[in-house]
Symmetry: C2
Subunit: 83 residues, 2 copies
């Protein structure tokens, strides 16, 4: 079966995020009351697996492979079966 996986990879708290700072100052310039903006990556993909639990495990392994453990954390945001 195929599963749609959404994976977030973000900088750890405390790691300086210049891109987030830039977006924050743009938003504040546009009069949005936004603070502590952090920019990360989102990966959407289709994964082949026998069950939702297996797809979730595969997604965790993919996150481990792609995120830099020193600076980044990953979150498996969603695993949905494709019909």
């Amino acid at each position: 079966m195929k599963y749609h996986v959404t994976l977030l990879i973000e900088l750890k708290d405390g790691i300086l995020d210049p891109q987030g700072r830039a977006v924050e100052s743009i938003l504040q310039g546009l009069q949005f009351k936004a603070q502590n903006v952090r920019v990360g990556r989102v990966l959407e993909m289709e994964v082949e697996a026998g069950s939702e639990a297996e797809a979730s495990a595969v997604a965790h392994n993919i996150g481990k492979a792609l995120a830099n453990p020193v600076m980044e954390v990953f979150v498996v945001e969603a695993v949905k079966e494709l019909v």
Copy 2:
């Protein structure tokens, strides 16, 4: 009140995503059965608003301001009140 907002900005379907292709070939090289990998941005921020509905509306306006309407779509993934 402050709300934590998660906003996803992704390339529209059909727009070529070279970064996604690169990640896909890396994952396949690592024997992961991943297909149709798409890479986008995730923005996490704190937003000042009077209610959850207002925070959600602010998040939509921020998405409109930051996403390129020709190539990208945005999704307000989550709005959570901060305590």
